[in-house]
Symmetry: C2
Subunit: 415 residues, 2 copies
DNA sequence: ATTTTTTTTGTAAAATTAAACAAAGAAGGT
DNA sequence: ACCTTCTTTGTTTAATTTTACAAAAAAAAT
């Protein structure tokens, strides 16, 4: 390896801070050291020159999300993850980032963290680049220590989380005690999130997940675990105004990033209602699993729904189906329409389905059906006539909708 | 009594036809004899002069419905039911009725039928009036015979009907056999109707019911019976285009007539789906009773609904309630809105209820709430904001609707 | 083969609904 | 008592939806 004799970093440092100061002195630039998830580990203080991005990072003890996003988009982070060479980043005023150079800290094939050098007044030379690489090598051991400490804590938290999920902790004090011993402040309100992946989650993907979760700054994640193809999170809902909207954004963003950054597709995200009692985590978990199961049955209809609260009539599909079956009820209107469709091979049933799915909006439904709005109007008049339906009556509409979807589901089952 | 010696009708007649001919000869006018329900019993044939109403009556073997309605409206029938004196009816061209005189046939305090004398070329004298009264007296016995024969048949049909209603006749041939022995042609499709009265149905009201049912000409009533405060009908649905619409009209008309003609109010009418299998009468009966029970729970919401098929979401209220209870689910949006209402004593919940009940029609809802449409719009924006609701999403709307109605029902229970 | 009925599409006018503002009263907080 | 925010209503304009009518293609009936 390239440990040269004149490696100024080949010594024992008390702490990462000490190393940061040393690098800063050698390169004559401000320095920050982050872990793999862009959380601040250490920064040099002897130099007062800096840029807004660095200030924000130090204040928040983490790199701001928009900076991370920008660095992903423009390729810096992917580059750092694929090479041990220092990477130069151009000035990006829109996010307050001055010129800088970064290098990743490696252990085997894994990135443990990053060292950032802000080029305020100077530009690093080739020689300084190789010094920076040596500094990265030197930081490795300290980061490893941190990681093993973290791993131990993680193991304990995993066990605790599973006890909560399976309802093995009923006592309030016990739950609070556990949180405290893990140095987690339990939020007063929470939501449980489940991301269902298409395949079992590999160690590699687990790292990616961990990265995305830690760099997220919208939600405080209290606990998380992975169960074969599901990622399960316990998330604080405190101090969030439009909780569902925010959760929606968060899960979509997560799914988007997994696809965009790591090429992992087909993740189904789901989140529970807001709860205030940690004894209800089991309930929240089952609620989430129920949503996943319903989404499997009606993927199209529920593709934009991620939580039980917004499932609408689909909350009830199991019992609706059961009742219909036990009553052997037949929707008379649908029967008449079906008979007409058969006889004239028309598609009134499909027309009705789309119309109702589009919430009785003629324009939207016509677009979906690729027909003129007047055509749809004509068909609806025929449907009203033939099926003895009154579209002014919301009760008739909901019955038809339910029975159409039940029929669709049952037809699927028969295949 | 006024049996005079020169009563030409004081003899034994072979049949009512013979009596009709005799009256016709004596009064020199065409004569028809009807039972209490305006069904044709006999008519004179020796005279060819007549009017359109009489022709229609003879052809259809009953007085046309519109003629009956007109005679009620204009007071002839009420008069005939209250006096034993002959009543003169003026020409009514719009229903094809020429001048005529009618007298009712009495047994004690009950009207058994009517004799109609058409005054084609002449006008009856006072003397002829009293002859007519004698003729009515003479017709009494023949009508009584008919009635007892009918009663026997009715008794048998009642027993048969109850066997069907309680599902004690499973065998098809057996059912068909019973119909034939009662000289009823079973229709290939039928509906079961139940009219629920506020009080038990007295003998007097039973007669009124019988009258209304027999004079109706929209639906062929195969069987009917009375069970304390319920009138139950088995009605043919054959050859009717818009079955539900027609049934709706029929039951409303019945309720209207009971109120208008006999002052009997608060009748709740209900009818079953259309069935083709007489083994399903029990099912149809239970279906009807279920609708009655739901209508009791949600009288306002279901006041214009008379059949299971059109109940919409109310078909499912029992199981929806059950599921909500067993899940101890709380609608988050409603919770937020309720909290807001409490704090600011506003009425967002009520606003939302009316809005959804009016099928998201802003104008209708604003009218119902007695506020300006802009006010409602403003409130809806607030509701969307506070309750985190999206009114573009039909699933969210239906959830809210269901939970509002469930809440309403439960609040009622707690009183 | 031809007549009738059903279905689709287009255009334009009428009607309804939604959005944008402004004004003013009511309610809440300091 | 004063200021701010919330709520209601009115007016106007813009946008959208509904309706009416006509033409023509397609399907069904005779």
């Amino acid at each position: 390896m390239n440990y040269s004799l004149n490696d100024p970093f080949k010594m024992d440092f008390e702490s990462l801070e000490e190393l940061a100061e040393m690098i800063s002195q050698v390169l004559e630039c401000p320095v920050t050291i982050e872990d793999a998830n862009h959380r601040l580990l250490a920064y040099s203080t002897h130099d007062e020159r800096t840029d807004p991005a660095r200030i924000a990072t130090i204040i928040g003890r983490r790199v701001p999300e928009k900076v991370i996003n920008q660095l992903w988009k423009e390729g810096t982070i992917p580059a750092l993850l694929s090479t041990k060479e220092p990477i130069r980043v151009k000035n990006m005023d829109e996010i307050g980032l001055g010129h800088r150079v970064a290098v990743s800290i490696w252990k085997q094939e894994e990135v443990l963290g990053f060292i950032w050098v802000i080029e305020i007044d100077k530009t690093l030379t080739e020689e300084e680049y190789s010094l920076l690489k040596k500094a990265a090598e030197s930081a490795k051991n300290k980061l490893l220590q941190l990681q093993t400490r973290k791993n131990k804590k993680e193991e304990r938290s995993q066990e605790f989380f599973w006890k909560l999920l399976t309802g093995h902790l009923a006592n309030h004090e016990e739950i609070t005690g556990n949180f405290h011993s893990l140095q987690i402040t339990p939020a007063s309100s929470y939501s449980l999130l489940v991301f269902q992946f298409k395949h079992n989650i590999s160690g590699k993907i687990e790292q990616n997940i961990s990265y995305l979760l830690t760099t997220n700054q919208r939600f405080k994640i209290m606990l998380y675990t992975i169960d074969s193809n599901q990622l399960i999170l316990l998330v604080s809902a405190d101090n969030i105004r439009h909780t569902f909207e925010e959760l929606n954004y968060f899960v979509r963003q997560f799914v988007f990033n997994m696809s965009e950054r790591y090429g992992v597709n087909e993740i189904t995200p789901v989140y529970s209602s807001i709860y205030y009692d940690y004894g209800k985590i089991k309930h929240a978990y089952h609620e989430s699993l129920e949503v996943l199961s319903i989404k499997e049955k009606f993927p199209e209809e529920t593709k934009d729904i991620h939580t039980y609260q917004k499932l609408g009539i689909y909350q009830f599909f199991d019992i609706l189906l059961q009742k219909r079956k036990s009553n052997d009820f037949e929707n008379y209107s649908l029967k008449l329409l079906y008979q007409y469709d058969q006889k004239h091979n028309s598609n009134l049933i499909e027309t009705l389905d789309v119309f109702l799915t589009k919430d009785a909006n003629i324009n939207d439904a016509a677009k979906e059906l690729n027909v003129h709005a007047n055509t749809l109007n004509y068909r609806l008049k025929r449907i009203a006539e033939i099926g003895e339906v009154d579209f002014k009556d919301p009760n008739q509409k909901i019955s038809l909708y339910i029975d159409l979807k039940l029929r669709k589901y049952q037809n699927m089952q028969h295949l």
